[in-house]
């Protein structure tokens, strides 16, 4: 099993891309073969991920493990440097799992206009980009993976999306690209100042430059990451992208892509520029709480189920950002827990919202109702996931929010406790509003009476949860419960790494 130490990370990252290359040589008419090869690729990557879980030393989760560091582009000192610690491991595993489940789901339903092969190739490329982002320890490598993600998602939305797909796809692409330009400028500035693209080296040697310089660099990184998260007020691409994207696209977007932004803060911006982080934390915290309340209020105004869930993401990512802004153990651990929980729960919510559309051919909340009576299993899943999303203890949604709020009560050194306690109260109001819109949505979609046959879409196909859907969803449903009952599942891994990140603050 020693070979996993050297090759595990690379396998988990590049096996999907390899699968994409293999798929190029399969005739597109052979749907089954295409699906089989695509699914096997994601499965093999997941197996690599599981082997990594066995090799990972949880006692040293604060250190980078399974590290590989070789020369790559010598002219600019860019290196192929990858590895995992307790922060990246859960996110990598999440990405591997969710993509595999998406592949299973595609057996049940391929969005219009078909073209399974193209869809699979794009999804596999996307997976390589996502996985790579979470394992890269070199800024240039990170940037490549980061940008690699954009292209497949652009086409997923632009080709397989809803009526306004072109607008949504272009908006998603350009907005994110706009942010990443500033991020790249930040990376280059770091390189010019410190002479390295290596995240670990930059972190250990620190940036020996004026506070203004550090803040400017942080601002660049902030723009790149904040747009990706997305933080208020940079979030407006998200509802459009989510609403138009096909089911699998929405799931991957919510479950994994958004995490790349928050991960960037924890992995790059904060540990490398700790002083600037202290300057920016209050701003991040304020924007985060605005996002929580603003997102919840927008949810209350939605009539489209998918758009509602998209706005709920804005609020939930607000909790993650609030946790990060606290710069203490509870908050940052809560943030990472929140990322994983949001990946599981909102991923599941988008699966459900997509499936509602595939069944009813509408997502208008006003045209739905009584789903629990007509589709008891499906309705139960929606209830379960919504309840998890509103932060019920015992399910995954609780711990991230609770720890972020606890972190705000007593924020890290150098931060104003009064401000953060106000933010905590704001977050608390947000949890009430969140409960409000989710229960209201359940009331309108799940409860009451089912619309009569005459009022349904002519192509509506009202069927309860199908076997393949069970396979694709069961792991998420189980993990939502497991992480809620036994949060150590995540926190036991993240804590060491978070302590390491926060060491930059003398904590």
């Amino acid at each position: 099993m020693g070979w996993i130490d050297d090759w595990g990370v690379a396998l988990a990252t590049f096996l999907p891309a390899l699968g994409a290359i293999v798929l190029l040589f399969v005739p597109s008419v052979q749907d089954r073969t295409v699906k089989l090869i695509g699914t096997i690729s994601t499965f093999l990557a997941l197996v690599a991920g599981i082997l990594i879980l066995f090799r990972f030393d949880y006692g040293r989760s604060g250190e980078i493990q399974l590290e590989v560091d070789t020369q790559w582009i010598p002219t600019i000192d860019a290196r192929y440097h990858v590895g995992l610690d307790g922060i990246s491991l859960p996110l990598l595993e999440l990405s591997l799992l969710v993509t595999f489940l998406c592949a299973i789901y595609l057996w049940f339903h391929v969005p219009e206009p078909g073209k399974v092969k193209a869809f699979f190739i794009l999804m596999l490329l996307l997976e390589t980009g996502m996985n790579g982002s979470f394992v890269a320890l070199d800024l240039i490598l990170f940037f490549i993976f980061w940008e690699l993600v954009l292209v497949p998602m652009y086409f997923m939305i632009g080709v397989w999306g809803g009526p306004r797909r072109e607008y949504a796809a272009v908006k998603f692409f350009l907005y994110t690209l706009f942010g990443s330009v500033f991020m790249l400028l930040g990376f280059l500035a770091l390189y010019l100042q410190a002479g390295s693209f290596d995240m670990l080296e930059l972190r250990s040697q620190g940036i020996d430059a004026s506070r203004t310089f550090q803040n400017l660099v942080f601002l660049g990184l902030f723009l790149g990451f904040a747009i990706k998260v997305p933080m208020w007020p940079f979030h407006t691409w998200l509802p459009d992208a989510h609403t138009e994207a096909p089911t699998v696209g929405s799931v991957l977007l919510a479950a994994i892509l958004l995490k790349m932004g928050t991960y960037g803060f924890v992995r790059i911006a904060i540990p490398i520029l700790p002083e600037a982080a202290v300057d920016f934390a209050p701003i991040i915290g304020i924007l985060a709480v605005i996002a929580i309340i603003y997102g919840a209020l927008c949810c209350l105004a939605q009539t489209d189920l998918k758009r509602l869930i998209a706005f709920s993401s804005v609020g939930h990512m607000g909790f993650v950002m609030l946790g990060i802004a606290t710069l203490n153990d509870a908050g940052v651990n809560g943030a990472i827990f929140g990322m994983v929980a949001h990946g599981l729960i909102t991923g599941m919510l988008f699966f459900i919202a997509g499936s509602v559309h595939e069944r009813y051919h509408t997502r208008e909340i006003g045209e739905l109702g009584g789903m629990l009576a007509r589709l008891p299993r499906f309705g139960t899943l929606l209830t379960y996931t919504a309840i998890a999303s509103l932060g019920l203890p015992g399910l995954a949604g609780f711990w991230g929010e609770a720890l972020a709020l606890l972190g705000s009560y007593q924020p890290g050194a150098g931060l104003d406790p009064v401000l953060f306690r106000i933010l905590m109260v704001g977050g608390g109001i947000g949890t009430i509003l969140t409960a409000g819109y989710f229960l209201w949505t359940l009331q309108r979609v799940n409860l009451g009476r089912h619309p009569e046959a005459a009022r349904l879409h002519p192509h509506a196909r009202i069927i309860d949860v199908q076997p393949l859907e069970w396979w694709a969803w069961a792991p998420l449903l189980v993990l939502i419960l497991a992480a809620g009952v036994y949060p150590k599942l995540v926190l036991g891994v993240t804590d060491g790494a978070v302590q390491n990140v926060l060491r930059s603050f003398g904590g």
Binding site: L24, K115, L125, K171, Q302, G370, L392, G428, L439, Q499
Partner: protein
Amino acid sequence: MVNVQQALIFAQEHGETDTAETVLDPGLIGGFVWLVPLLPILSFFVILFFGKRMRDRGHAVGILSIGAGLLISLVSFLELAGGRGTIERSWTWFELGAGDHPLHLEFGMNLDFLTAVMFVVVCTISLLVQIYSVGYMHDDSRYTIFYAMLSLFTGSMLFMVIANSLLQLFVGWELVGVCSYFLIGHYWEEKENSSAAIKAFITNRVGDVSLLFGIWALFTLSGTFNINDINHMAQEGDLGGPLAVVAALLLFGGVVSKSAQFPLYVWLPDAMAGPTPVSALIHAATMVVAGVYLVARMFVFFEHAGGALNVVALIAAITMLLAAVLAIVQDDIKRVLAYSTVSQLGYMVAALGVGAYTAGVFHLFTHAFFKACLFLGAGSVIHAVHSNNLSDMGGLRRYMPHTFRTFIIASLGLAGIFPLAGFFSKDEIIGGALRSASEGDQAVAWVVFGSAIITAFLTAFYMARACIKAFWGEYRGHGTPHESPGSMVTPLWILAVGTLTVGFLGIPVIGPFQDWITVPGHEHHGFSTFYNLVLPVGSVLVALLGIYLGYLIFYRERWRYDILAGPFAWAYRFVENKYFLDDLYLNGIVNPTKGAIARATYWSNQHILDGAVNKVAAGTVGTAQVTYDVLDQQIVDYAVNGAAGITGLTGGILKYIQTGNVQRYAAILFGAVVIFVVLLVLL
């Protein structure tokens, strides 16, 4: 026995052993009381996944698990009474951070008399409710899920009661809330019912957030979530200052919503939308007493947190009076009982507020019996007449002899007539308030005392009204009412017998209850030593007066007086509209948030934030156009070719996708990435 030994060793290693109260002799069964919450929780999963396949549709699993829980509770209670010590055991849930402020979170169990009394109450009521529901819910289409939820509801409450850490308590607390949401909204075909469920959950969420913040504040102050440690620290005077007061008030914020105190009691009367057995469970055992339990559990801390207890007592005094007045004007029999519960919860909380700790817990205990009996009795009546309204009842004593007798016993118990259960507990509260008032010379205790006396009168009055309207006179409903089946009547009689007897456990001086529930951190006995004959005789007279007045007005109909025509019409309308509190919340907060504020926010999102983005995009395109027309066309002509090339490439990709020629598309994609990398290298 090996297991017990191991448990002992485990407890010694992991338990908090620094307090004198922790005696490590769990007895035969005490070490296993964690099974009491665990069994119903497991039963929830069993019923949920397999219930529909069972011949009985799942109720046997629920009843057996809670029956086993009751057995364990009783044995462990007897062991405690036999002199075994209290037990605390805990396991690590997770740990975060290092250095000065590690976050160490445990879950565990805390077994003392308070836990044991609560266990007996919760298990007894839940068992009877589940037996009763076999008959009551027989024709329900969602019978199985109903039983699953009853199990989880009970299990969550027990999980909360056994908690030795505040965060565990919070988890149980919220789970109780969500179960109540499902059970209140059981008949969700009607929007009214699901709205009531949402109202219950959201109102409780408000308090839950307050409670959570209180827990955070307390953790920051004390560095621990452990309840016994916090109480111990408070006892030693280590937790003081304004932050302790704030923490105590925040905790109490949770109590205000969960235990339906003013001004957040509005959800409880609406919670009547659920099936009647659920109402019995909510009102007697598994939900609303959670807040009372929290204050009792954290009593030492509350006592040492500045004037926090005065606030507690004052709110409770207001609550008991306001709710009792509301109970008089209700036509729905369940709403009469609901406001009665709010009022009685006021008694319990007020008792704790004035330091009459034992009396408060004792009232929780006795109230569970007669209130569960009243609700199940009301359910039996509703089952027979198919209406909740008193105006559709009348003369039922002839048709439903068992329901009638048990209902009257429970009503007398609630009214506090000697020698029924409510008499003993209520009297202790009034006595405790008087003692506190005269000893401590505290204005708040006088308020509680006065409010308690008036409320005792009102309680007797509104119960007399309800009983007379339901059971005397002529039947005003449809069809012929009939007595309910044995599975429903038996629990009624068990509870009625309980109402007749459990009060004697708390007879002053000789009753054992005061030896069980002693005021933590105090030397003296739980019950008031300030005891003479004036008080009990006086309070019974007050209650009898209330019943007599009810008799005169509603039976003899002495005064036929149209209050709406009189000078107090405004007061009547004020009460009839529930002091406009519901309207204030609905029209002042909920509807604007859901409506105008949400729409305005979304409008700003679409037109301001997103508008700006679109403007920037349009501006960029416009600038590009100008650049192209002016700069490019006229100055750098040769670059046009390049631009054309890029446009062609983009168009090409889209064309390939649309024609389905994916190989070429993918090749281009890879090519693009390669070009990108090369560009980077050249940079």
